[in-house]
């Protein structure tokens, strides 16, 4: 946090300039690769992710994410005035003296509050995260976000012109505008002179002559710039020269201060310095040429050829937000399906079928794009598993609906798909759902075999449960015994498929665990959760086969699979224990509890209604 204080000093050092972003063509700049969160991605994706982390949105009022990034990199003084920090906690706002009428605050507006609360930070960091109250958690997040922005604004501070007046004797040595890289050449000389001044006149600047004071100030500025660059590893745009291609790329400051410099990095950084100049001069032609040159040079220097098509696809993916389109298709499909079933004279059943198929096609293309971009199966995180399971639900429902000519199947699938997709944002709060895998998952074979099998099992369970809800409703409130019998058959078959996938997935997980962790089964919460689904399905199937569980009860128990799956899929993550800790997501407890309670009430109500109808018939 000391670095925040350094930043303001640094910001004062840089020359300001007029805003240039509107005149510059960002198309090549957007595609410049960098390494972030363990994988290579285009600058555009990085910009959106970082902006979303700070502000909760992927663009600002008059500024796209890429323009905002460029402003931070090349004109940090202006960037510090752009409102970008979102603070949703009003109590905290009041407590730390921030205006409560603004949605977003700039770094400059936030700075006094950050200074005021800096002393509380070490106490908060020492606390267990579970024991933090919402205010404390928000305050920590705010400081972390400020640190991120600070790093971003300092990324190229070694290459930006400085607004420092040099001591007279150095003015001939370094003429015109200069940067840290030039200033560092006189660093040792200045330091030796400063040591002599301190030895003769002490540390009180009041005793210094104007020239001595200027020497002390310049030496201080160099120290500040260096301190500001230490540990700044956010913007990794330089491929490593000295290590193999698997090693992380480097940020400009890592190259300069970490001993990673080379003739190649010197050349690339000189291009970045030229780009900074073109930005600050609003020189559109130079900007266009240099961004293309940087793109080429980075590709040459990266030891493996960069897949620019992948970057382009990622850019399209992040710009089009396909998740929202899929949700819209499924949501509308669900509404029209419900209308077409219960009010067939109002709407044709072809409309929900068309919407569902469009959604499925887009969903499949989206998952295909994710597989291509990430080069792995699309089930590495909770968020991804939701995307995958929702596709399984809707597509399985659509296929069986066509096969069995039963629109209720489609309705159940669309309800499950919509519901699942609605939970997705809570599982990927930081926008970039294109994450690298946790190390423990990093074997594509087992990820494909085990996780796809388990998640497909979740899909079958949820679809069966959705159908069971519909069946109970029909049994309780509609007089259609033939349909009830048809649905019984469908539910039974779906529960068999769910059992097969869940049992096979659980066993395969055991084999993977045996290979990775040296034990087949460890009573880990996630393992127990998977076993719970299998046991639940076995119990209901056996009960049904032995005629111990009657059809309505069987249907209600399959409907309750939603609760069992939710507990197994998300609930075990709340325990924060076990080897499957890569899936943990904070803040799920409330939603999960509400879901389970609502499901319990709904299923009980539907079950009682169905039983009442059966009794009245008897």
């Amino acid at each position: 946090m000391r670095l925040l204080a350094v930043l303001l000093t640094l910001l004062m050092c840089f020359s300001g300039l007029a805003r240039a972003e509107e005149t510059l063509d960002m198309s090549a700049f957007k595609n410049i690769p960098l390494q972030h969160q363990g994988r290579l991605k285009p600058l555009d994706s990085f910009a959106k992710l970082t902006l979303k982390q700070l502000s909760g949105q992927t663009s600002l009022k008059d500024l796209s994410a890429t323009n905002w990034l460029a402003l931070n990199l090349f004109d940090p003084q202006s960037a510090a005035q752009i409102p970008v920090f979102k603070i949703s906690n009003d109590t905290l706002k009041k407590k730390i003296g921030l205006p409560d009428n603004k949605t977003l605050l700039s770094f400059n507006e936030l700075k006094p509050a950050l200074d005021k609360t800096r002393e509380d930070l070490s106490a908060l960091l020492a606390k267990d995260e579970k024991n933090l109250d919402p205010n404390e958690r928000e305050l920590l997040r705010l400081h972390e976000n400020a640190a991120t922005l600070t790093m971003l604004m300092r990324s190229f501070s070694a290459l930006l012109p400085l607004n420092i007046e040099l001591p007279q004797r150095y003015q001939k040595q370094i003429e015109g505008q200069f940067t840290f890289t030039e200033l560092s050449k006189i660093e040792q000389q200045l330091q030796e002179e400063l040591n002599t001044i301190i030895a003769t006149k002490g540390r009180d600047p009041a005793a210094y002559s104007p020239e001595e004071l200027s020497i002390a100030k310049t030496a201080f500025h160099i120290q500040m710039l260096r301190a500001g660059g230490e540990n700044n590893n956010l913007l990794r745009v330089i491929p490593s020269t000295w290590k193999d291609a698997k090693e992380p790329w480097l940020s400009p400051w890592e190259v300069l201060l970490g001993g990673e410099g080379s003739p190649a990095s010197a050349f690339l950084l000189s291009q970045w310095a030229d780009l900074a100049k073109a930005y600050r001069d609003a020189d559109a032609q130079s900007w266009r040429i240099i961004t293309a040159e940087i793109l080429d040079e980075t590709q040459i220097q990266s030891q493996h050829p960069l897949n620019t098509k992948k970057f382009e696809l990622e850019r399209i993916y992040t710009n089009t937000a396909p998740y929202l389109w899929i949700l819209a298709f499924y949501g509308l499909g669900f509404l029209t399906a419900a209308l077409s079933i219960f009010k067939p004279d109002i709407i044709s059943n072809k409309i929900p079928a068309f919407l569902a198929l469009s959604g499925i096609m887009l969903h499949t293309v989206t998952l295909g794009a994710r597989i291509y971009i990430l080069a792995r199966p699309p089930v590495g995180t909770l968020y991804e598993s939701v995307l995958f399971v929702s596709l399984i639900c809707v597509s399985a429902a659509a296929i069986t609906a066509i096969h069995r000519k039963n629109a209720i199947l489609l309705l159940a699938g669309l309800a499950a798909g919509t519901g699942l997709l609605l939970t997705a944002p809570a599982l990927a709060p930081e926008a970039d759902s294109l994450e690298v895998l946790a190390a423990v998952l990093n074997t594509n074979f087992w990820l494909t075999v085990h996780v796809l099998c388990i998640t497909a099992g979740y899909g079958a369970c949820i679809l069966g449960a959705g159908l069971a809800h519909a069946a109970l409703f029909i049994r309780g409130f509609k007089n259609t015994p033939v349909l009830w019998l048809k649905l019984q058959q469908n539910i039974y078959h779906l529960s068999l498929i769910a059992l097969l996938l869940s049992a096979a997935g659980t066993a395969l997980g055991g084999i993977w665990a045996d290979q990775s962790w040296g034990r087949f089964w460890g009573w880990d919460p996630k393992e127990n959760g998977a076993l719970l689904i299998v046991l639940w399905l076995l119990w209901t199937q056996h009960g049904r086969a032995a005629n111990k569980i009657k059809p309505a009860t069987f249907t209600a128990l399959i409907a309750a699979l939603n609760i069992i799956v939710a507990l197994s899929w998300f609930g075990v993550n709340l325990l924060s224990v076990g080897l499957h800790s890569y899936g943990f997501t904070a803040g799920l407890a409330g939603g999960l509890f509400a879901f389970c309670a609502a499901e319990l009430i709904l299923i009980t109500t539907l079950y009682l209604a169905a039983k009442k109808k059966e009794l009245s018939r008897a």
């Binding site: 050449k185 040792q188 300069l256 001993g259 410099g261 087949f520 089964w521």
Partner: protein, 196 residues
């Protein structure tokens, strides 16, 4: 046949206990050998590094050289300064290496000293040790080679350049031992001998 709930319960408990003891048995097995013993990393062939940029420098005897003049030799390119304690610590080891591999190695020490006097003051202390044809020291007064060309901002740094003038290894700081340097040089000698 109708069984009482107690019988069902006992049966279930037996199955659960059997499952539990089975997993205990699985845990007691000796893990496969490759989980315990990490295979030794294979010794990799030297990858061809980037070509070192050519530059000229004037040594302490006033003679101007270009890096390309030393094609066919292994070059130890060391960035140092007499005001830098780690540089002073490692410098004699490079001189020893240059003497040990006199026929194959050229040592080029590029100094970031403020002036020739400070640099010579240190070099004088080394005496005759540095008066060898394969030991070349130069002052990089404007720091063009050190900072602009090789982007060295923290001293000392050393680049080992192979006989084809490709940059092979970078040594950052002075925390290395002489045996490691000898090994690197011998590897470069072998790669030279293999070169057709």
């Amino acid at each position: 046949m109708h069984k009482s709930p107690l019988v069902n319960f006992v049966l279930l408990a037996c199955i659960a206990a059997a499952a539990y003891f089975f997993t205990l048995y699985l845990d007691t097995r000796t893990p496969p050998i490759d989980i315990i013993i990490q295979p030794e990393a294979p010794i990799e062939d030297i990858e061809k590094g980037q070509e070192a940029p050519n530059f000229t420098f004037t040594d302490t005897n006033g003679k101007t050289h270009a890096l390309r003049d030393f094609k066919g030799k292994i070059i130890i390119l060391n960035f140092w300064a007499s005001w830098c304690p780690p540089c002073i610590k490692e410098f004699p080891h490079f001189i020893t290496a240059a003497k040990e591999f006199e026929n194959d190695v050229v040592f080029i020490g590029i100094s970031s000293d403020l002036n020739t006097e400070s640099m010579n003051k240190f070099l004088d202390r080394l005496g005759a040790d540095i008066k060898k044809q394969n030991i070349l020291i130069a002052l990089d007064e404007d720091q063009n080679i050190t900072k602009n060309l090789f982007q060295t901002y923290r001293l000392p740094e050393t680049v080992l350049i192979d006989v084809n003038q490709h940059m092979h290894t970078k040594i950052i700081g002075a925390d290395w031992d002489y045996a490691a340097l000898q090994k690197q040089i011998r590897t470069l000698q072998k790669s030279r001998d293999k070169t057709p």
